[in-house]
């Protein structure tokens, strides 16, 4: 039973680590391979679109992984490799879009909405604080009215 559990655990863990990268694609130099892996994890597969090319089994993703490794071997910096792919497929291939003129709303919106929410919460709480903690005491007339109602009780 424990063995089975361990086996299942091992399988689950290996699944999360498994990538689409084939052994023959891997670069001999571990430092370059690490860079290639990091880069391909941030490039979008244009076939499946919500997977990185590192994750995707699509033939085009494989071609692009090989291409990224070729550029790295040829001495490109990470930025040059990114620029190479963007020149062909546009900024859409960057899974994390750069902060620029046309993307600043995308990046700013979460902070703006959080800020608005905080402002609304602050205004609400301040309103609560301003209200008197206890209601004003009853006037003599009101006291009389209450007493009369109580006396009416059967």
């Amino acid at each position: 039973m424990i063995r089975l559990a361990l086996l299942l655990l091992a399988l689950t863990l290996s699944c999360s680590l498994a990538r689409a990268v084939e052994p023959d694609e891997v670069l001999a130099d571990p430092a370059l391979e690490t860079r290639a892996r990091a880069l391909t994890q941030e490039l979008r597969c244009v076939v499946c679109q919500n997977q990185s090319i590192d994750d995707s089994d699509a033939p085009l993703a494989r071609d692009m992984r090989v291409l990224v490794r070729e550029r790295i071997k040829a001495g490109d910096t990470d930025d040059e490799v990114r620029a190479f792919v963007v020149a062909r497929y546009g900024k859409f291939v960057l899974l994390s879009p750069p902060v620029e003129g046309d993307t600043f709303i995308l990046w700013l919106a979460p902070f703006a909405i959080t800020g608005l929410g905080a402002l609304a919460a602050w205004a609400y709480l301040r309103g609560l604080a301003r209200q008197p903690a206890t209601a004003a005491a009853l006037t003599p007339t009101e006291e009389d009215a209450v007493q009369r109602k109580l006396d009416e009780a059967p």
Partner: protein
């Protein structure tokens, strides 16, 4: 003040409705080409069948052409094929094929079986030119103007509708350019 506050949910709903109205009608699957209005990227590919000729961007200059990315392994290309054949037979368009990562014997068989609508076929066996063109899948068709610039890209099969409504008017407009 509190009366105006009641409008806030309505405003939020209206904003959401606007987002959905735009978002749900927009095709987000198709990645727009960033090469529109740019010259074709450099390439130098053998013709298929290989007769020693090389296909380069120069080959496509001087008239309006359709550059069609296809392959014998591509199912949708089979659907598109009769439309291309008709266009070629009626001489409505000059279609240059780019065989994307195809095997020569399978490509040959495909053309023999279905017919050949292509004026010329460039053989991109390793698929590098397709990546330079920003191809995201097959079939894709680029409309190339007389100066060899990419003017439009259609993703997916060309059918009668896309030809009549999008491609034909564009081809005519580009043919009128000097």
């Amino acid at each position: 003040m509190s009366r105006w506050l009641a409008l806030v949910p309505v405003l939020i709903l209206a904003t959401l409705a606007l987002y959905f109205a735009i978002g749900l009608r927009t095709d987000t699957r198709t990645i727009k080409s960033i090469l529109i209005d740019k010259p074709l990227p450099a390439f130098d590919l053998p013709a298929f069948p290989d007769d020693g000729k090389r296909i380069t961007p120069e080959t496509l200059k001087g008239r309006v052409t359709l550059l069609n990315i296809f392959a014998s392994w591509c199912i949708t290309c089979r659907v598109e094929h009769p439309v291309l054949l008709k266009l070629a037979m009626e001489k409505r368009a000059e279609i240059i094929g780019l065989a994307w990562k195809d095997k020569p014997d399978e490509l040959k068989q495909w053309l023999e079986e279905l017919g050949n609508p292509y004026a010329t076929i460039a053989d991109d066996r390793i698929g590098r030119t397709a990546i330079d063109l920003g191809v995201t899948g097959a079939p894709e068709t680029y409309v190339i103007d007389k100066k060899g610039r990419i003017r439009y890209k259609h993703v997916g099969a060309i059918d009668d509708y896309t030809w009549t409504n999008i491609l034909e008017p564009l081809v005519k407009q580009l043919e009128a350019e000097t």
